[in-house]
Structure formats: C-alpha cells, structure tokens
Amino acid sequence: MNTLKVAVILLVEDDLADQKLVKRSLSQAKIGNELHIVNSGEQALEYLQSSKNGDAQTPMPDLILLDLNMPGMGGQELLRHLKADDELDIIPVVILTTSDSDKDILESFKLQAAGYIKKPVTLEGFHEVMQVLSEYWFVICKRVSHDNEHKNKSNQCLISGR
C-alpha cells in the first residue's frame, strides 16, 4: 500500500466550477494528494515539459484527470500526445467528462485512457468518485516512482499557468 506517499494529480479542466468540485472532493478524500490544475491541453503540455525538466513547482503527476471538451487542444488530442511520449506514456490518464457518447468512450479507450468517468451532477457524486478513484489508484495499485518523493505535503492545491 502506498498511502504514505503523497499522490500528485494533474487536473486538465477548463471549467472553473468543475475545477472547484474536483478540488473540494479530493481534499475530502482520505488519501493524501497534491492537486495541480491547468486550464487547457496546451497548458498541460507546458506543465509536463517543465516536470520533465525537473522543476519542483511542477512535479511529475502520478495520475492525470482529463476533461474532453476544451477550447483549443481537446482532451483526446492531448491524450494522443501523452501516449506517444516516451516519458509521459506511463502516467495513467482518467477521462472526466460530461460526454457519455459511446464514440468518446471507445475513442478514449483506444487511446489507452485508464478509465472514463462521467462527471457526476452532485457534490456528493463528486466526493464518491474521487474517493473510489483515489482508493483504486493510490491504495490498491502500485504506481511508478517519480522523483517527487522528497515531497511530504498533503491535500494541497496549486493552480498553474494562470
């Protein structure tokens, strides 16, 4: 079990209200995590480039939560970029979207998403999703070790690229 290591989560989401919901729900999850938020696919790539460069402000995420519909680079396009990158392809990417179209589900799994979650409509729904997701990815599953392990913070939220 990996509960002692703080999990770094990168949320890629343009909607401010949804950012807030995820942030609130993750801070209530009983699993230590450090949430970083970017507003677009382009900003996510910038964030991850700086993670690769070892910038402590942008630690390599253990998990990426990705919205599909965003202005500019959409979620699927970003996912394609990530999975084609030799350093970033090991990060599980979970889709978090309002779309429940079969086509989006199929396309996302084809691009090797590690889950496809339809955004719940209530705050309680968000809490439950984030609790289940954190338990699966950070308690049950082993993760790849990044060089972030010097960190020992919990339930923080940092917003990048504003």
């Binding site: 090797q112 889950g115 439950e128 289940v132 338990e135 699966y136």
Partner: protein, 146 residues
C-alpha cells in the same frame, strides 16, 4: 449500482492456488462477476480470438486480470499482443502479480496496463482489492460496450 448488472472478467493465471483465491474473492461481490480462467498467455489469446467471433460461448471480457510470471508467453508479452490488436486494445488489463519490482511496474504501465496490483497473501485482502477495483471500473468508469 444496478444490481442486475453482470460483468465478465478473464483471469490469466497459471497458479491453481491463485486461481482459486481470485475466484473466491470475486464470489460474493455486489456485482455479479462471470470469471473465465485460462492458465497461460497463449490460452488467453485463443480465448480472446474466439470471443471476437461472437459465438456466445466465450463472452468478451469487460476486464482482464493478468499474472506476469507464467511459463511460455509471459504476462507482458500477452499485454503487448492485446494492446496491439485493434479489436482487443480497448479492454482494460489489470496486472495481478507477486512481483514488487519497480522495473515491472514501469514496463507494465508503459504497455498500458490499467493498474498494477501486488497479490496479497490472503483472501480477505484480495476481496477488499477486488471490491475497490470493481467499484472503480464498473460503478464509476464507463467501459466500451461488448
């Protein structure tokens, strides 16, 4: 959760004791799991090929549980085959192994494993793991329709 929901899992595992343990851990979950078991990677691929033919006898799994160390085709090779197959690549594959090696964890995620779980020693722990995995994959996540 829709209690009438039932899902198909394919377990690829050569160890009979571990097969039994997984079967028991899945037995009294909230969701009805139809567990299909094969003992090798080769058998797993044959099963999946048959499942593509839609003969009804070999239902397409919603999720695959995969051991790493097996005689013949190992788990990673099997995973590579699945992920290179247009029809099969959308099925999430969870690694269930005794290996704790950092290299194995890295390689499996590189090959697009949808989770890497170290086998616990007892059925109670495994039940808990299966319960949490089922919650994530079948209650929260949508999956590609079979």
């Amino acid at each position: 959760m829709d209690s009438s929901k039932f899902v198909v899992m394919l377990l690829v595992e050569d160890d009979l004791g571990d097969q039994k343990l997984t079967k028991n851990a899945l037995a009294d979950q909230e969701i009805d799991v139809e567990l299909r078991t094969v003992s090798t990677g080769e058998e797993g691929l044959r099963y999946l090929q048959r499942s593509c033919n839609e003969d009804g006898q070999n239902p397409r799994p919603n999720l695959i549980l995969l051991d790493l160390n097996m005689p013949g085709m190992g788990g990673k090779e099997f995973l590579k085959e699945i992920k290179n197959n247009e029809q099969l690549c959308t099925i999430p594959v969870i690694i269930l192994t005794t290996s704790n090696s950092e290299v194995d964890v890295q390689e499996c995620y590189k090959l697009h494993a949808a989770g890497y779980i170290q086998k616990p020693g007892n059925v109670q722990k495994l039940k808990e793991i299966m319960s949490k995995s089922i919650k994530y994959w079948f209650e929260q996540s949508s999956l590609v329709k079979s």
